[in-house]
């Protein structure tokens, strides 16, 4: 078991708690950089998609996992990010300017929308955000000049100096682009969490009443959380548009919003790791099911090509997750890590939820 001796405040402020952890994340990054040499083009494409889902998941995690505000309509912000990025580029803007700009635009739109709807909480907030997702679906058809109506918009290849970045033409470069965005967003996310803003988010999640008593302007901080969350989701949307190369209203159906929620819940609410774990599940499960289906048909002669099998499996997983591991995959990972660290002193009830004391109900 490792004991950390803290001899300066920086120990708690630093991003990594010790050198070996920093080294592990460095190694992970190196492996990620080496992936194009290790994987086939098809698999690299799958990993790219997982990265894009991770960015979108981090967007929702910031809001749902760390600020405690549920949004069942985040596909709407993916759509805004995607369509605005392609529109900016259609106006002749370079992708490198259009990407941050579409993130910024999505963030501002999110913050403006947040002001009225964050007055709601719990189930009412969920309903309002579902409505948002449905509205954006329809707007995507109506606003033809921006969204190409029912047909949609095609994504032009990304110009980078003399080379073109294109998902099929140069999959490795597009992968690096997604990796860079993922790393930057993750760093920004970690930075927010270790500074006063992140603590204000957590404070609002755990007790709005005492957050207010401590001088946190709850409405303002919630709006900020929503805006940041939407900006990150918008970035993911822009990358997604270039990944699938053609987007229309069907790319951002409400099912995508719900998949995003599943992702953060399966991954583990309240941890950045969770967004990544969830992305791996959400991004790779459909492929895994397809492979299993092929194997079942060719090797055993069983046909399991039922429509809706993916959705049913997803639903099953989330039910099992909520029943047995409310902390999600990150919770499992954390427990396994603690088990190894404490071996053989791990106690079975180490993570049993302790009794929570009565909270003030009067002022809600």
């Amino acid at each position: 078991m490792k004991v950390h001796f803290k001899d300066s405040y920086d120990h708690d402020i630093d991003m990594f708690e010790d050198r070996s952890r920093a080294l592990r994340y460095g190694l992970l990054l190196l492996v990620m950089i080496a992936l194009p040499w290790l994987l086939s083009e098809y698999l690299l494409g799958e990993v790219t998609l997982v990265l894009i889902w991770s960015v979108a998941g981090m967007g929702l995690m910031l809001l749902a996992g760390h600020t405690g505000q549920v949004s069942l309509g985040h596909a709407a912000f993916l759509a805004i990010g995607a369509f605005s990025n392609l529109w900016f580029m259609a106006q002749g803007m370079s992708f490198w300017l259009a990407l941050p700009l579409s993130g910024l635009l999505t963030g501002v739109v999110g913050a403006v929308i947040a002001m009225p709807i964050l007055r709601l909480s719990g189930i009412y907030l969920a309903i309002a955000t579902i409505a948002l997702s449905i509205i954006v679906e329809d707007v995507a058809i109506v606003a033809e000049p921006f969204t190409g109506g029912v047909v949609g918009v095609f994504a032009e290849p990304i110009q980078a100096g003399d080379t073109m970045i294109d998902r099929y033409g140069t999959p490795a470069l597009f992968y690096y682009l997604c990796l860079a965005v993922t790393v930057l967003v993750t760093l920004g996310y970690v930075n927010v969490l270790r500074s006063p803003t992140g603590r204000a988010f957590l404070a609002i999640r755990d007790s709005e009443v005492s957050a207010r008593a401590l001088g946190i302007n709850v409405a303002r901080v919630k709006t900020l959380a929503f805006g940041l969350s939407c900006a990150v989701t918008g970035l993911a949307g822009a990358l997604y548009a270039h990944f699938v190369q053609v987007v229309n209203y069907e790319s951002f159906l409400i099912l995508i919003s719900i998949t995003l929620v599943l992702q953060v819940v399966i991954g583990g609410l309240g941890s950045i790791h969770g967004a990544f774990f969830g992305a791996v599940v959400v991004g790779l499960l459909p492929q895994l099911i397809a492979i299993l289906r092929d194997v079942a048909t060719t090797s055993f002669g069983i046909d399991i090509a039922y429509p809706g099998l993916d959705t049913a499996l997803f639903a099953g997983i989330i039910v099992l997750m909520i029943l047995f591991e409310p902390l999600g995959l990150y919770g499992m990972y954390f427990k396994a890590r603690t088990y190894l660290k404490l071996f053989p002193l791990y106690r079975k009830d180490l993570f049993r939820r302790s009794k929570s004391y009565l909270k003030t109900e009067r002022m809600r």
Partner: protein, 256 residues
């Protein structure tokens, strides 16, 4: 001039007048206690001062400034901190993180700087942590610094909540039943801490409390209220022996 002046404060919920024309002054440096039977409106007075409730009449003045029209989040920056009757901590964070939220009023960095974690943010973080360590030292919480709130015993949570309030560096601290649910020893500790807050840190204390041993030990002045109206004011002994107070607690005839 008094630090906190409450004049003719009133609020009703539906037809019930929870607070009905309460006036009192809290002088800088004293421990002012409000006592009264259940439902007398003590916590409501606290919620009016911290601006969670909008009074239907009366004014609240703090250090010469009328705070009756301010929002709840504008109170802490003035130097008023509070605790809650049923502990309101951030359960999924460590003790240290809870106290750091208490430093929110001292925050000087913008969120954009924080996303980039510029050197200034690190400097400010060090300063916040330094301030918080002093509170941890003062209330003897070092053993619990990195523990999650969810795993702490009730008595420690009470202290952490006070520590979080102190971390904001208040002039006035409102303690809502600091001794409720505490053992006899813990209540004695609480008495010492309240005295230290008053004498060493120079913080004015406004307290609601039922435990008369604590009230007698620390209070400079005591105000007794019942059914939202003031009954008696004076030292702890004077208020305890006031016939109107005894009547409010025990019913008519008991004083005779």
């Amino acid at each position: 001039m008094s630090l906190l002046s409450v004049r003719d404060l009133s609020i009703s919920f539906g037809g019930l007048k929870a607070v009905d024309g309460i006036s009192f002054d809290v002088e800088a440096g004293e421990v002012f206690t409000i006592v009264g039977p259940n439902g007398a409106g003590k916590s409501t007075i606290f919620n009016l001062i911290s601006r969670f409730y909008q009074p239907s009449g009366g004014t609240i003045t703090f250090a010469g400034q009328d705070i009756t029209g301010l929002s709840a989040h504008e109170i802490a920056p003035l130097g008023i901190a509070r605790t809650f009757q049923n502990i309101e901590l951030f359960d999924h964070s460590t003790v240290l993180a809870n106290l750091l939220v208490g430093r929110h009023t001292a925050r000087r960095t913008h969120w954009i700087e924080e996303v980039l974690f510029l050197p200034r943010v690190r400097q400010e973080e060090r300063a916040h942590r330094h301030a918080v360590e002093e509170v941890i030292d003062f209330l003897d919480l070092a053993a619990y610094r990195d523990k999650l709130i969810a795993g702490l015993p009730y008595g420690v949570r009470k202290v952490v909540e006070i520590a979080r309030a102190l971390a904001s560096g208040p002039k006035l601290i409102l303690l809502d039943e600091p001794a409720s649910g505490l053992s006899v020893e813990e209540t004695q500790d609480m008495a010492f801490w309240i005295e230290d807050m008053q004498k060493d840190l120079g913080i004015t204390v406004l307290m609601v409390e039922h435990d008369m041993s604590l009230v007698t030990a620390v209070s400079t002045r005591v105000l007794a209220v019942a059914e939202g109206r003031p009954l008696a004011m004076g030292t702890a002994a004077e208020v305890q022996n006031d016939p109107k107070v005894i009547e409010a607690y025990l019913g008519t005839g008991a004083a005779a």
